[in-house]
Symmetry: C2
Subunit: 379 residues, 2 copies
C-alpha cells in the first residue's frame, strides 16, 4: 500500500476538489455556460497576477508562454537583456537564440540572485535593449529574485520587463502592477495546483506597444488574437476546457485562503525546510538572503550521490523530490513546498530525507530535521 507525495517544483499535487471540478460532462468552449465561467476565471486571474492587465490563457506548458513573450514583443535582430541564474534563465537565452534575438546575457552564479544593479548597468550599456528577460523563482536553485527593485529599475527605461513567474506566481509575491512588470508568464502545474497544460501571460500596455512593432512570426501564441478574443471572454483556439474548470476551483481555493495567507504558508514551509536543513547539518545551495519560499536547494553531504538520494526517496518512500540540474546534477537535492502542501507533507518529506541520507552513509541524526521543522510550525 502506497501513498505518493510530490515535493516537486511542478507538477505539484492536485487537490481532490480540483480533480472533481475537472470531471465530465465537458462544456463546449463556445457555449454561454463556458464563456460565463471563463469570464470569471479571467477576472480572478487578475487577482492572482495582482494586475489590471489582461491575462491570456494558452493550452500549453510554461515554455509555450515563455516563447509567446519573445515572439510577440520582439523582432529578429532586436537586443534584449537576459538574466541567466539557472536552468530557466538559460531557457530565455535559448529562446532568444532560436528567434534571432541578440541576447545580452547577465550570467549569475547558480544559487545567487541577480542584483538589480547588474540589470541597471546592462541597460545603461545597452540603451537599445527592447526587453529584459528574467526569472522570479529560479527553481533550479531555489532563488527568488527581487523583482520589486528590478521593476523600478527597468521602468525608468524604454525596455519591457518580462518575468518567468512560472513556479513563483501564487506562492510568493509577484505584484505585477505595483512592481511595474510588463509581461508575467505562469503555468498551471505549480502554485495553481492544477495538472500541467495551461500557461498564462499577463501583458502590460508598455509591452503591448512592443507587440504592435514586433515582426517575429507567430500564430498560435499571437497576443493580438488573444487580446481580441479575451475581450469576448474567449480564446482564439480551443481552450483546455477541463483544466479551466479546474482552474476555477483552484482560484476558489486561493481566494478562500487569501493570497496573502497563501504566500505566508509558503514562507512558513520554507522557513521550516531551511531550519531542518540546518538542524540536519546540511548546507543550503544559496545564501539565506537569496533563498526563496518555493524550493529549497540543499548541497548533498560529501560522499553522497544526490541522484541516489532522489531515487531512494521515490522508490522506497514514494516521495518525489528533485535532484540538481545541469552542472549541479548529483550535487544538490531540491525539496519543494509549492502548491497543495501542508505542514505534515513537509514533515514526512524531511523524515524521509533523514532516513535516506542515513542509509546512504551520511552522518545524520534521525529526527533532527523533523524537530526543527516542528519548532517552526509551533512558533
Amino acid at each position: 500500500m502506497n501513498k505518493f507525495v510530490l515535493l516537486t517544483p511542478g507538477p505539484t499535487m492536485v487537490p481532490e476538489r480540483i480533480g472533481k471540478a475537472m470531471q465530465p460532462p465537458i462544456i463546449h468552449h463556445r457555449a454561454p455556460a463556458f464563456v460565463k465561467i471563463f469570464t470569471k476565471v479571467c477576472e480572478d486571474l487578475k487577482y492572482v497576477f495582482c494586475t489590471k492587465n489582461d491575462v491570456f490563457t494558452f493550452a500549453a506548458s510554461g515554455t509555450g508562454a515563455m516563447e509567446s513573450a519573445v515572439v510577440n514583443l520582439l523582432s529578429a535582430g532586436d537586443k534584449a537583456v537576459v538574466v541567466v541564474s539557472g536552468k530557466f534563465g538559460e531557457r530565455w537565452k535559448l529562446l532568444c537564440e532560436a528567434y534571432g534575438v541578440n541576447a545580452v546575457v547577465i550570467d549569475v552564479e547558480w544559487g545567487k540572485a541577480v542584483k538589480p544593479a547588474q540589470i541597471e548597468e546592462a541597460l545603461r550599456e545597452n540603451p537599445d535593449a527592447k526587453a529584459v528577460f528574467t526569472t522570479l523563482s529560479e527553481t533550479s536553485t531555489g532563488v527568488v529574485a527581487d523583482l520589486k527593485t528590478i521593476g523600478a529599475v527597468v521602468a525608468e527605461t524604454p525596455a519591457a520587463l518580462v518575468v518567468d513567474a512560472i513556479s513563483g506566481l501564487g506562492a510568493t509575491p509577484c505584484l505585477m502592477d505595483e512592481w511595474q512588470l510588463d509581461v508575467v508568464v505562469a503555468g498551471s502545474q505549480k502554485a495553481l495546483m492544477l495538472p500541467p497544460g495551461l500557461a498564462f501571460a499577463a501583458v502590460s500596455e508598455k509591452a503591448m506597444k512592443l507587440v504592435e512593432a514586433s515582426t517575429l512570426p507567430k500564430f498560435y501564441f499571437d497576443y493580438k488574437k488573444y487580446r481580441k478574443m479575451v475581450e469576448k471572454n474567449q480564446t482564439p483556439y480551443t481552450p483546455a476546457v477541463s483544466l479551466i474548470l479546474g482552474l476555477q476551483e483552484a482560484i476558489n481555493m486561493i481566494k478562500e485562503e487569501g493570497l496573502e495567507n497563501v504566500y505566508a504558508r509558503h514562507a512558513r514551509l520554507a522557513k521550516a525546510a531551511r531550519a531542518a536543513v540546518k538542524a540536519m547539518g546540511l548546507e543550503m545551495l544559496s545564501s539565506p538572503e537569496d533563498a526563496g519560499n518555493i524550493c529549497t536547494a540543499v548541497k548533498v553531504p560529501d560522499g553522497v550521490d544526490g541522484n541516489a538520494l532522489v531515487k531512494i526517496m521515490r522508490d522506497e518512500h514514494k516521495i518525489t523530490i528533485t535532484g540538481g540540474q545541469e552542472h549541479l546534477k548529483g550535487k544538490i537535492f531540491r525539496i519543494s513546498h509549492l502548491g497543495y502542501v501542508v505542514d505534515f507533507d513537509l514533515i514526512l518529506g524531511i523524515a524521509a530525507i533523514e532516513m535516506s541520507l542515513k542509509k546512504l552513509g551520511a552522518d545524520i541524526q534521525l529526527g533532527s530535521g523533523v524537530a526543527a521543522a516542528q519548532q517552526v510550525f509551533m512558533s
Copy 2:
C-alpha cells in the same frame, strides 16, 4: 434537471472512465511510473495513427500541431500547395502567410472535396512546392477528402503531404503509412474523447528530411527536440500529465472496441444522420459522395435562421450542435456524431432538431427523422 449532450465536432463528450483516469494523484512527468505509461501511450498512438512513425505529443490545441508542421518543415519563402475547402483549410493558408511561406492555394467550394487531380495539377505547375497542406475531415462542411488517392499523387513528387486529421483521426480511416501521408496532426478533443489540451503530430522520414533543412524559427514545437525525447519516451517540456493519463484510457477503449469497429460505428451514425436529414425533407450541404462520417452539415430550410436553431437546441433541449462558420453562418447547421456517441445520442439529437425546426416555423413532420435513423440502426 438537465442532461447535456454534445453533438459537436469538438470538444466532444468525455466518457466517465476517462474522467476517472485523469483524477489525482498526479504523477511527476520525469518519474519512471509516468515514463512507463507514456512509453505505452506512444506505442498505442501508432496504432491509432496506423503508422510506424514517431508520434509527437504536445500540450497544445490542434492549431498548435498545425503550426508545428509549418515551422518544422519549411523555410521563409518556400512554396507550398494549400487546399482550402473550408475554415480549417483556410487555417493552413493563414499559417503559411504568418510564416512567410508562399501558399499556392487550391480553392474548393465549401461543401465539396478537393479532387486529387487538382493537387496533381498544382504540383505539376509548382514542382518546387515543398509541401501540400490539406484536411482529412473539414468540419466546417462535413466533407472528408480522399487522402488515399491524394497520398498516392503526392508520393510521386518531392513534396511532403501534411494532413490536418484533427477531427478525423480515430473516427474515419487515416492510414498514414499505407496512404503515404507525411505529417498527420490530430487533437485530443475529437474522436479520442478527451478534453482539449493535447495535440499530436506523426512525422514520416520524408518529412523529417524537410525538418533538417527548415530554417523557420521554432522552440516549443521543435520536432528535433521531440524526436530526441520521444526516444526516451519523454517530452522536452512538461506534458499535460492528466490528459495523457486520460489518453491511455481512451486508447484502451478504442482498442477494446477495435479501430475498424470505431470507424464502422461512425459510418453507421453518419448514415443514420443522413437518412434523417432526407426524411425530414432537408438538404445536405455536400453531395452524398463527399459527405464524411464525422459531421453532417445540413442547409437550414428557407425562412429559418440557423443560429436560432442552434440556440433553441442548446437552451431548451441542452443539446449542443453547431451552426455554420464564416459565409455559411446562419445558413447551415452541423450535427456531429464524433467520439463518445451512441445510437441514442443521435436519436435524441434528431428528435430535438425536429422539435426546434418546427418551433421555428419549418414544415417538419415530428418523428420522421427519428424513424429514418431507427431504420438504419435496425438494418
